[in-house]
């Protein structure tokens, strides 16, 4: 028995040493992913890693950290944890993790990255970090997502570009027995912020954030009044503002026609109800308001750590993932917009062009979300959609009371 045990242990040792010897022969890069194993994104990444290894011999060791990766990254980067590629929100990588990331400018130029990316997103990255410190993936675009079939049923032929036209579309939809707009409570801040941006621009909102004076600002009062009128006209689907994702799901059931959000709403609804016939409308312009060219854009991104010993290999794998076959696969499998504009977005065909043509990006409530009372402001926004305010002035007075 003892001999057998000794023999087994010796065998394990020999095999382990052999494995180490083999592993030592090839290059390995470590990638901390923001996805969880089994998610569609993770499946595509794992496939890409296998294909990359088959092509180059570089093994990609993927650690699935999930969306909580941001809780771990700072500590890991500060400690110099052996990571080659990190993945998170591009804003955080461009700002928070920038000191620990590699300047990819030269590698990107050599790889012709400019032709495989959206300038609006790469400009954001270089603006935040001072250099190209990450490669953007899974881009997002915001606006009004609508069900084309519902529009057809209601006889809507022209897409609205102004608020007046938008209200006309709402009236047609309501007449056709379809609730015009779904609205979950979780996104009331985004919808109202978008509406405010159309009146004041993000700089105008930042002024209100810093100095208050909402009730004295005619445009802010009008923006709130518009939402009150929208609610009073019965243009919100029954139950809205509802608990996420109950209201947005009503676009899937056919009860509602539109929802204001970023493009991931389409993937979320499709995951429950199957593929919908989606379209995207730029948030309408306001009479006498700010530029309507401003569009919400967001993304995740991949960066190479500044201390990576295999920066080129890591960069090459990132490019392998965000361009060509695997980028297309990611877009198709996970219901996302491709990171490479040469690829196509089957479920939302106009999204690629929207991103390509956008020059003025809007943040996720960035002019307000640093206000100390941001949490209470969000509650007021939801109350606005609940119809709790008699008029725009009453809402703005409540906003001023938070200062």
């Amino acid at each position: 028995m003892k001999k057998l045990l000794s023999l087994t242990l010796a065998l394990v040792m020999v095999l382990s040493l052999g494995a180490f010897a083999l592993a030592d022969g090839g290059t390995e890069i470590t990638y901390w992913s923001m996805w969880n194993e089994g998610e569609p994104q993770a499946t595509v990444i794992a496939e890409a890693a296998e294909a990359y290894e088959a092509e180059t011999g570089v093994h990609v060791n993927i650690e699935w950290k999930g969306r909580g990766v941001n809780e771990l990254l700072t500590a890991a980067l500060e400690a110099g944890e052996p990571i080659d590629i990190i993945e998170d929100d591009y804003n955080r990588i461009g700002n928070v993790y920038a000191p620990y990331t590699y300047d990819l400018t030269e590698m990107a130029e050599a790889a012709g990255y400019a032709e495989h990316s959206y300038p609006v997103l790469t400009d954001q990255v270089t603006g935040w970090a001072g250099c190209l410190n990450s490669i953007v993936e899974q881009p997002q675009v915001g606006g009004i997502f609508y069900n084309r079939d519902a529009f057809e049923t209601a006889g809507v032929e022209e897409l609205p570009t102004t608020w007046t036209e938008f209200l006309d579309v709402c009236a047609k939809l309501k007449d056709a027995g379809i609730a015009p707009l779904a609205q979950d409570g979780a996104y009331t801040n985004f919808t109202f912020y978008y509406h405010l941006v159309r009146y004041l621009g993000e700089d105008g909102i930042a002024e209100l954030r810093d100095n208050g004076g909402w009730a004295d600002n005619e445009k802010a009062v009008q923006a709130a009044q518009d939402i009150i009128d929208l609610v009073n006209a019965g243009y919100l689907v029954d139950g809205a503002p509802d608990e996420y994702p109950s209201s947005q799901n009503k676009v899937g059931t056919g009860e509602a026609a539109m929802v204001v959000c970023a493009n991931y709403v389409t993937a979320e609804v499709d995951a429950v109800f199957g593929p919908q016939n989606w379209g995207l409308i730029n948030y309408p312009a306001m009479d006498g308001g700010a530029s309507a060219d401003v569009v919400y854009v967001g993304a995740n991104s991949l960066a190479v750590t500044s201390y990576s010993e295999h920066a080129q290999e890591a960069f090459d794998f990132i490019m392998f993932l965000v361009t060509g076959e695997y980028d297309q696969k990611m877009a198709d499998t996970a219901g996302q917009i491709p990171a490479d504009p040469d690829n196509t977005c089957a479920y939302l065909p106009t999204a690629v062009d929207t991103l390509k043509n956008t020059t003025a990006p809007m943040s996720w409530c960035g002019s307000l979300n640093t206000h100390p009372a941001w949490g209470d402001m969000k509650t007021l926004f939801t109350e606005l959609f609940e119809g709790k305010y008699a008029d725009g002035a009453a809402f703005c007075a409540a906003m001023d009371a938070l200062y």
Binding site: N369, T370, A373, T379
Partner: protein, 299 residues
Amino acid sequence: MSMKKNRALIFFFIAPTVICLLLMYVYPVLRTVAMSFFRVESVTADAGSWTFNGLANYDKIFHNASFITSMKNFLAIWIVGGVITLALSLLIAVILTSKIRFQGFFRAAIYLPNIVSAVALATMWVQYIFNYDYGLLNQLVTFLGFDKVRWLGTDAKLWAMIAAFIYGSIGYYMLIYISGIEGIPTDLYEAATIDGASKARQFFSITLPLLKGIVKTTITFWTINAATFYLWSKLFSPVQTEGSTIVPVIYLYDTVFGGKGVIERDAGAGAAVGVVLTLIIIAVYVITDRLLKSRDLEY
């Protein structure tokens, strides 16, 4: 074996535990307290990069509307939730120790929510019971001929969350009370019954006074639960933090790690929140210890 050798052996045996305790518990606590007086961006930043900030972190959080809202929500959870949970669990414990039929079944049924994942439990409440369209409560409301209620609207969301949390907590406190009640000698009740004391009188004159120590423990446990309340708030506001459900630990988390679209981080202010919560728990413990003296009771 000499006393000296004995001491050395004792030291040798307890040293690993003491070292682990110092490294994993005392050091983080001391570091957090120190951090709360410094300007620190990242929670793991080297102490050399900290900038002394005096009481500015405390000043910041106590002048922050979101923190104040979170403290109000915490108070609602602690007081309203606490009174209802502890009273109901004590009542159920008394009933279940009074030799009723199917005791075992009721104990198991009431304790059941504690063995179900809190995530599943909260999802059931949010997506089914409180659902506006097909939720259990609105089905009941419409059956009775009333209009549907927005249970998770801004006015009601905190209370809805507290109600769900109470449901998930009662079983745990019930078990603590049951173990306390079962520790009371039955001859006390037998004597009281012979003397003609009613069940209510027995409860107020025997059970309750002899449970003082247990009540003190449950109040401390509840305070810790309310102060560290996080998961339920996160599940009732899954996309981003909302004013109606924000609690101090959520505020702490957002302050330390940033939130949706927010990249600013302030680990020093986060540490200050942690210190404030710890002081609250200690204060509650000291006060309840003074008010509910159980040391003079022997049985």
